[in-house]
């Protein structure tokens, strides 16, 4: 029993140590919201832009508690909005904080706005205006929560 307690304590310490180390990650979507809880309806603490560097402090059911802007901001982002892979890609880029263009070396490279513009000039009949209009329709998580509730839809684990 005593032995088990020691093992549990040791594992906890080890886990804490790993969290404290804070794995580096980078925001891989246009922008993501930093929240006070691991939930889409958590209060907004800030907005992190594409390429912003974060340290992952803790992970919990798909969410990550991160420290951003050199420790000035701390909160939860959804795991799908960040990548640890990009850190390796960015090692050849510069340092610095925030969403500088050098953070993610692959950011903006390859299939980007420039390539789309070239593709559009070669395919003038394509209706990109309709795609732009489609992207403008964006509801807030609070509106989505209300939509589900109004229809009598109750997510088991909440939103």
């Amino acid at each position: 029993m005593k032995k088990l307690g020691l093992i549990v304590m040791f594992s906890l310490l080890l886990a804490l140590g790993l969290w404290a180390a804070g794995a580096e990650a980078i925001v891989q979507v246009k922008e993501t919201i930093l929240r006070d809880q691991p939930s889409f309806t958590g209060k907004t603490l800030g907005v992190l832009k594409y390429g912003a560097k974060v340290s992952v402090l803790e992970e919990k059911s798909g969410w990550a508690r991160v420290s951003a802007e050199a420790g000035k901001l701390q909160g939860w982002v959804h795991g799908s909005s960040i990548t640890k892979k990009a850190v390796a890609l960015s090692s050849q880029g510069g340092s610095g904080t925030g969403a500088s263009s050098s953070e993610v070396s692959l950011a903006g490279k390859g299939f980007n706005a420039q390539v789309e513009a070239q593709y559009r000039s070669q395919n003038a009949a394509l209706d990109f205006a309709a795609i732009d209009a489609m992207e403008k329709i964006r509801f807030k998580p609070e509106e989505l929560k209300a939509f589900l509730a109004d229809g009598g839809i109750l997510p088991k684990g909440g939103i």
């Binding site: 979507v29 594409y50 980007n112 593709y119 009949a125 209706d127 489609m134 989505l144 839809i153």
Partner: protein, 306 residues
């Protein structure tokens, strides 16, 4: 006695040989190949190492595409989908579809993509739905007409969201095209491409767009890919609080309407009956699909005259 010991020795050797064969097959073919050729003196060690390097470059997959690149691919695939049918100009229907679809996307394993999830009704009587990489989802009026409850509309959208979450579209890009595209991108230090590189990368972009569009509109995904999207859809419906059995009732409704050989869902998807069998097995006992009066009201209002 002797024969017996022979047999037992063989018994010990055979599994060992099998294990070593399977271990060899784990080594990439490129490495094994160049090693053998170099050892037999067919090629020099230098040549062997350069072959290994080239083969290494071949091993690029859809996973090497960044979410930003996926976003630009998705926009152009979406523009191509719009050459098959025009957007249905109806604010109420569009609002409803986006409220429902964006709600469901929160429950996928990938709720955040580079540009987010967006839904559009296509002005077409055919029964169809498409998901472009990154989260642009298109559903025809014909498909929406087929859905008799909000749960069934949710099942259609959840299936498309699952295609996005598993990046099925990106997997349709031919490997050699992806490899040469990513090689060009990787060697270019600058963010702004020079005229020659721009031409090359745009050609690879164009090819990737047609690989995906051809799969979505003409050839369809493999059966296994569709089954995976159904499985993903069930998980999304379940955690959002929608009735997963609606996927079965939607597929059943589809089966009664699809005409074999028609240029729509029938051409690009497995027989609904096969999908129903699979989904039923994953669901166990089916609870009847019940739509709340509020959900029915808002659905009929939003999709009136669809």
């Amino acid at each position: 006695m002797r024969a017996d010991s022979m047999v037992s020795r063989l018994r010990a050797i055979v599994p060992a040989v099998l294990v070593s064969i399977s271990m060899i097959s784990c080594v990439s073919i490129a490495e094994a190949g160049s090693g053998i050729a170099a050892a037999t003196g067919v090629i020099t060690t230098e040549q062997a190492s350069s072959i290994t390097k080239v083969a290494g470059a071949v091993e690029k997959t859809f996973e090497d595409i960044t979410p930003e690149q996926e976003y630009y691919i998705g926009r152009s695939v979406g523009a191509q989908v719009l050459t098959t049918a025009r957007p249905y100009d109806n604010t109420a229907a569009s609002r409803y579809l986006n409220l429902l679809g964006q709600s469901l996307a929160l429950f996928s394993t990938r709720p955040e993509t580079f540009g987010g999830y967006h839904f559009l009704v296509l002005d077409s009587d055919s029964i169809n739905a498409f998901a472009a990489p990154g989260g642009l989802v298109f559903v025809t009026r014909g498909m929406l007409r087929l859905c008799s409850t909000e749960h069934e509309v949710a099942a259609v959208l959840a299936h498309e969201i699952a295609h996005v979450q598993y990046q099925h579209g990106l997997k349709a890009i031919k490997t050699d095209r992806l490899t040469s595209a990513l090689a060009t991108i990787g060697t270019e230090a600058a963010k702004t491409l020079g005229p020659a590189e721009l031409k090359e990368v745009t050609a690879q972009f164009e090819g990737s767009i047609s690989d995906i569009t051809r799969t979505l509109v003409n050839s369809g995904y493999s059966r296994e890919t569709e089954y995976e999207a159904d499985k993903g859809a069930l998980a999304i419906l379940r955690s959002a609080g929608y009735n997963p059995a609606a996927l079965v009732s939607m597929l059943a409704a589809m089966k009664t309407r699809l005409k074999p050989g028609a240029p729509d869902f029938a051409k690009t998807h497995p027989d609904p009956e096969l999908r129903i069998d699979r989904v039923r097995r994953q669901l166990g006992t089916l609870a009847p699909v019940v739509e709340s009066p509020q959900a029915r009201d808002r659905r009929t209002r939003a999709l009136a005259g669809i």
